[in-house]
């Protein structure tokens, strides 16, 4: 299993966390996993929505104190 790529998007307001995820995932091969850590509550909607429309999967999401953590797998059709 490949390593999980970490993206720190804490203190960034939407849509910057989505942009960070989008830009990071772009250069990875399909099937790669990215864990993104955010503090903007809006990411609870925005990260899953962005993943759905671009063909990626949210494998898990959780809240750890003020952080929202998402584990995302890049889809075969995604950018």
């Amino acid at each position: 299993m490949s390593d999980v790529v970490e993206v720190d998007a804490r203190r960034l307001l939407c849509p910057m966390p989505v942009i960070r995820l989008q830009d990071r995932i772009e250069s990875l091969p399909p099937g790669s996993e990215v864990r993104i850590t955010c503090t903007d509550p809006g990411t609870q909607n925005d990260i899953p929505t962005w993943c759905r429309i671009n063909g990626h999967s949210v494998l898990s999401s959780c809240q750890q104190q003020d952080d929202y953590v998402f584990l995302v797998r890049k889809g075969t059709d995604g950018d």
Partner: protein, 347 residues
Amino acid sequence: MARKAVALISGGLDSLLAAKLIQQQGIEVEGINFFTGFCVEGHTHAIRNRDRSRAKRNNALWVAEQLGIKLHIIDIVEEYKSVVINPRHGYGSNLNPCLDCKIFMVQKAHQWIREHGFDFIITGEVIGQRPKSQRSRFMPVIADESGAEDLLLRPLSARNLEPTRPELEGWVDRERLLGLSGRSRKPQMALAAEFGFTDYAQPAGGCCFLTDRSYSVKLKDLWDNRGRREYEIDDIMLLKVGRHIRPSTAFKLIIAREEGETRYLSGYRRQYQTIKTVSHAGPLALIEGDRLDPEQLELACAITARFSQGRDADSVELCFSDREQSSQSVHVRPLRAEQIPAEWVIA
């Protein structure tokens, strides 16, 4: 050969409908949304507690999901500075460079379609919908100055405009495009109902902080006091937050108005000197400006104390911290409301 179009997706109704009209003609559509740093809705939600009770979503993402299209969100914060600082066509009623903004975004979209093998660009522009950027005479200006020329199609107003290449080449059927004009929203609302869209965003006064008078006053104050027209992303984010009070040219205070703003401003503790009330519940304040003398620091604390629960107390204790987090205790008598002149308040 199947043709592909990219739609500028703002998150509002017009771009949703424009993209839908083109999808209906069998064109493959993907969306682009540009992040300038001046977006209104999401940031206000994220920062202020009172706005958190409402459902929060990114409208551009919501639109893309309704259409079933991919959305590319592009960070143009750095490049966009030249549009805000030196707009060739000037500002609207505030510091909103709407015409230059539209030209810039279409230009970026034109660059994007060339890099990604798309055929043309669509926008939700409607002739006469907005006072400046969507005037009839500016439609060709946007097409020409962006470089997109006849690859820019406005499906909602197309039949009031010269035919574009997608129409002339038969990629799309001009007869199935619309000829809307004017400020009425009724035709768009009727079309939305026809398509089954019910929960679309209708931002009153636009979705950009630069159209807001109070925000523009704060940005102008920032430029005037720095002696140069420039900004960083943190500057324009902080203009969205708190009370901005400038008692002198030496410093400005950004004082949180509620808990959500205090939490947000706390993230800037290592970039700014801060003041926080200790003896009473109260806001966090950032100090923009270095080397305050003792008198100025006392004034900054007395102003901050004015907005705390200790506003009527004889003495309030506050903690002043520098960027390295070394702190000192300060005791002051809070200023009374009438001791804060209106001209100090930037709004």
